[in-house]
């Protein structure tokens, strides 16, 4: 019989982890590295089970599971293990004349007991990657995987309990009730990956305890295609980035295309050609794409396609099979800008193309919408690249490729505005779960009487000179010449 998770359980859980944290269990370098290496063992010993769970939950092809979940995690763990000593070392900071004689540094300190809530589309990657950050920074952590990927959730619970130190790392499975109970507790940080709607609820719950948050949300990531691009490569990359990444169900999935009326037919042809090369003439039978996660999402996407003035804009695909939870790669052209498919994040295998008279107009279209997690541009035009990078506000910008920035540990990965706040990956994960404590060491020599009352004009003048770091003036005042 499965024990029901109740309020008392949530409180007990946090109390226990806090005790472990206060006892110093998670602070030492040895503990952190050991836990990270155990995560590595999970990846090494259980890849087939992980692939199988992902196939159960999402119909995810083996390559995607192996590469985009397990291999990325392995890299992330290895990087953390290699760099941890460096990351944990304090940073020296400069001091100035006004605080002389002193030395200063920034010490990285764990926040305490943190909560990671992950999403269903990349259940292993989005659960363990933040946990890597939490552990390397020396925190105790509770992970709540998504209930919409149940096989993955239970595998995660089983493996983490088996391999990691359960006095400091725990998994709580469940849905809305369990999440709500967890959110009532006081955490030292909450890391959430998911939708903007739930992101608001998380932040509001966090506000009650002044808990800082990282919210990795979504948005409609636009792809702007310039006519001077290499169309074949562009099409391949878009397809691999959209349908090749969980069938469009990814936060940085190319959501819609912006290109000129003139160039659009060529874009459509290139996409059709490469789609056939990748998935064959009968894409519904292809094993190389994930299915739609569940019937709720299937119905949501169906509704988008069936909307009046949208259904007649389909130029490729459109086939659906509710039993198999499959929708064929579908391309649409010039759907109304206020249709549902152009107002909500699609998160599925539908790709609308919006044509413009002039590529310049893309800036206004993008700017009129909430800020996305990613924005893409395919072009050879240097000026356009610079303008795009500077003026399009998004979590991250990729030129001439799709989604790859996710795999680069030296780039911060996170959103802005509706697409989220905070970032992670590489050292940014370590930073996300650390408090950077400022430490100033002052010496007893050289105490300035000017700091103390009674205040006089002389003292004021000297202070002014000090503040302005005006050496000449300082001497003048001291010598009584000013």
């Amino acid at each position: 019989m499965v024990k029901v998770f109740q309020a008392a359980d949530a409180t007990d859980l946090v109390t226990e982890l806090r005790r472990s944290f206060d006892d110093g269990v998670t602070r030492g370098y040895e503990w952190r590295v050991t836990q990270l290496k155990k995560l590595l063992l999970i990846c090494d010993n259980h890849e087939p089970e992980i692939v199988s769970a992902l196939h159960d939950d999402l119909g995810k092809p083996e390559l995607e599971s192996s590469v985009y979940e397990v291999a990325l995690l392995r890299n992330s763990i290895n990087l953390a293990v290699k760099q941890l000593k460096d990351w944990m070392a304090p940073d020296k900071a400069k001091t100035s004349l006004t605080t002389f004689p002193a030395s200063a540094e920034i010490v990285y300190e764990p926040l305490g007991v943190v909560l990671v809530i992950s999403a269903w589309n990349y259940p292993f990657l989005l659960s363990i990657d933040p946990v890597i950050g939490a552990i390397s920074a020396g925190n105790a952590v509770v992970l709540k995987p998504s209930e919409l990927a149940p096989a993955s959730s239970s595998l995660l619970a089983k493996l983490l309990e088996q391999y990691l130190d359960s006095s400091a790392v725990r998994v709580v499975e469940g849905a809305v009730i369990e999440t709500t109970l967890l959110l009532e507790q006081k955490w030292d940080k909450i890391f959430y990956t998911g939708s903007s709607r739930i992101g608001r609820i998380i932040m509001m719950a966090a506000a009650k305890h002044l808990t800082p948050v990282v919210l990795e949300l979504g948005g409609k990531s636009p792809v702007v295609i310039d006519s001077d691009t290499n169309l074949k490569i562009t099409a391949k990359r878009i397809i691999a980035g959209k349908w090749g990444c969980n069938n469009g169900q990814a936060c940085i999935s190319p959501d819609y295309i912006l290109t000129t009326k003139e160039f659009s037919p060529k874009v459509i042809d290139a996409l059709k050609q490469e789609l056939e090369a990748f998935y064959g003439k009968n894409p519904m039978e292809s094993k190389d794409m994930s299915r739609i996660v569940n019937s709720n999402h299937f119905d949501r996407l169906s509704k988008m396609l069936e909307e009046k003035e949208v259904s007649d804009k389909i130029v490729y695909g459109g086939q659906k099979n509710r039993d198999k939870l499959k929708i064929a790669p579908t391309i649409l052209v010039d759907v109304p800008l206020d249709s549902q498919i152009m107002s909500e994040e699609i998160f599925g295998p539908l790709l609308p193309i919006i044509t413009l008279n002039n590529l310049e107009e893309c800036f206004d279209v993008i700017r009129s919408r909430p800020k996305p997690l990613a924005a893409y541009l395919f072009t050879q035009n240097q000026k356009l690249k610079e303008r795009f990078a500077l003026t399009v506000s998004a979590g991250g910008i990729v030129v001439n490729d799709i989604a790859v920035h996710l795999a680069v540990p030296t780039l911060p990965f996170g959103g802005v505005g509706e697409s989220g706040m905070g970032s992670y990956h590489g050292k940014f994960s370590f930073d996300a779960f650390s408090h950077k404590k400022a430490v100033l060491y002052k010496s007893f020599i050289g105490d300035a009487a000017i700091r103390y009352p009674p205040y006089s004009t002389g003292k004021l003048r000297l202070l002014k000179a000090l503040v302005n770091s005006n050496i000449l003036e300082i001497f003048r005042v001291i010598l009584g010449l000013s």
């Binding site: 300190e109 490729d401 911060p412 430490v439 002052k442 205040y455």
Partner: protein, 496 residues
């Protein structure tokens, strides 16, 4: 009726201001480094030209002496703006990121992008610097900004509302005056960032309001900041330098002025842990600072409002607390004056030991072993700052690794505020986010990652249909096992 009408007017003003600021931001004007530098220069000019007026309002609102006003507000702001002005060219340069070989020839960098239209809410204790310093960060980062100063320092707020429009770009930088009802109206709107200085209680309200719009926040809050005095380890030093008195000057007194100052600032020291028996050192030092009659010295700030005075008086009136007064304790409700007061070992469960004091009252807790102070500090919410006077390396290490606070300063008080290479901000109940120096610039910027790939080179293994070769290829590539990768391509190995 009157109030409703005026609130309607405020709503109109806020709508209009937001609209104008958003248009200005969209026009790109605030992105130009030249514009930002001009505004920063104008802030310096504004403070320089109006030093006397600013000192006056600080005296009117808080009874602050002009030297303190300069040290902690005016001089501080000018220095902050100057730093930003000098460093801006460096700060705006994109930072190159090294990409793993796997991604060659792609390049990566991070650009600091302004959030857009930001809201700064400042508090009454340092009304000038807590308003202008965050604004300097917001402007340096290229944002448009609206400031609401605290109504509890009405003269300072009014002066800022008058001066800012005449020195700065009014289409981008605006000021609104008012209290909680104006703040409520402001918080109903969507901002791209909110910067708040004040109490934890209000901080929670701000964050909850920001959550509605997924607005990132920086909260600079308060907390009981403890000072640990390890007398044994420092007294030798003090004697050696013949300045034992200086220790008390630092602690007690810096304490008082900073207490006053700080009473205003929340990182002032709330209580001292101390092993030693030199409390009597405090008395002559207080006398040397403020004379026999501190009330008349002109160097002590007054309590800001009657409500705050009554709160302090309530804290002191607890009979057990009253019994622990060893110095001072007199109060004058009419003049809003509370004498510098020292308490020796007040009960740890009294209100004064559990609430933020924010007044010129210094509780001293004596311990036989200074190490006990660490346990005490850990049992309380994380403060904005911990101060420790000690030369004991072991104690220093313990303090650093076992306690958590926004910052730690050894052998001084409050000075970390002036060191602009150090981030200034809290953790836990004392806040989130940080600023000062370059951190102010970062506080108001979105760090945007830019990656550029090449259309020239392409790897077939990236694309479906999938097969074992491609799977092995990508696995090896990810592991950066390039040699094995070459073998795979030459057909000399099956792969992983």
């Amino acid at each position: 009726m009157e109030r409703e009408r005026s609130m309607e007017a405020v709503k109109e003003t806020v709508d209009q201001s937001l609209r104008e600021m958003r248009e200005t931001f969209a026009s790109g004007r605030t992105r130009s480094v030249k514009w930002r530098k001009a505004q920063l220069g104008a802030i310096i000019e504004m403070v320089k030209d109006n030093e006397e007026k600013m000192s006056d309002v600080l005296f009117q609102d808080l009874g602050k002496h002009s030297t303190e006003a300069f040290r902690d507000e005016l001089g501080f702001v000018m220095r902050s703006a100057t730093t930003a002005l000098i460093s801006l060219d460096k700060w705006v340069v994109p930072r190159k990121s090294n990409l793993p070989l796997l991604f060659y020839p792609a390049t990566g960098k991070v650009i600091s992008e302004p959030y857009g239209t930001v809201l700064v809410l400042s508090s009454w204790n340092f009304p000038i610097s807590l308003s202008l310093d965050p604004m300097i960060g917001a402007i340096a980062a290229g944002n448009t900004v609206l400031l609401k100063a605290s109504e509890l320092s009405p003269n300072a707020s009014a002066l800022l509302a008058k001066l800012i429009p005449s020195y700065l770009d009014t289409k981008a930088i605006k000021v609104i005056e008012g209290g909680p009802d104006v703040a409520t109206i402001l918080l109903q709107h969507q901002w791209d960032k909110i910067f708040f200085t004040g109490s934890p209680k209000i901080g929670k309200i701000i964050m909850a309001a920001a959550a509605e719009h997924l607005t990132p926040v920086t909260l600079e809050l308060g907390g009981k900041c403890p000072t640990i005095i390890d007398h044994h380890s420092v007294s030798k030093d003090m004697k050696a330098f013949g300045c034992e008195e200086n220790l008390w000057r630092k602690v007690g007194i810096l304490q008082w002025t900073s207490l006053y100052l700080c009473r205003l600032r929340s990182c002032r020291t709330e209580f001292c842990f101390y092993s030693g028996t030199y409390i009597d050192m405090f008395k002559p030092v207080i006398r040397s600072f403020f004379g026999e009659n501190p009330k008349e010295s002109g160097c002590l700030a007054k309590i800001v409002t009657k409500k705050h005075f009554q709160r302090l008086s309530r804290l002191l009136n607890d009979p057990r607390v009253k019994a622990s007064i060893v110095y001072g304790g007199s109060m004058d409700e009419e003049k809003l004056y509370v004498e510098p007061t020292i308490l020796l070992d007040p009960p740890l469960d009294s209100e004064i030991m559990n609430e933020e004091i924010f007044g010129p009252i210094l509780p001293i807790i004596t311990l036989r072993d200074i190490q006990e102070s660490i346990g005490f500090i850990k049992s309380k919410p994380k403060p904005l700052a911990i101060y420790a006077f000690t030369k004991d390396e072991n104690l220093k290490t313990r303090i650093l690794s076992e306690t958590s606070s926004g910052s730690v300063t050894f052998n001084d008080l409050m000075i970390q505020y002036m060191c602009d290479a150090l981030p200034f901000g809290g953790v836990g109940q004392s806040g989130m986010g940080r600023y000062h120096g370059k951190y102010s610039f970062e506080c108001f910027s979105h760090e945007k990652a830019i990656m550029e790939g090449s259309l020239a080179m392409d790897l077939e293994a990236r694309y479906p249909p999938w097969n074992n070769f491609k799977l092995n290829f990508i696995r090896l590539a990810f592991r950066e096992a390039y040699f094995k990768l070459v073998l795979l391509m030459l057909g000399l190995t099956k792969g992983v």
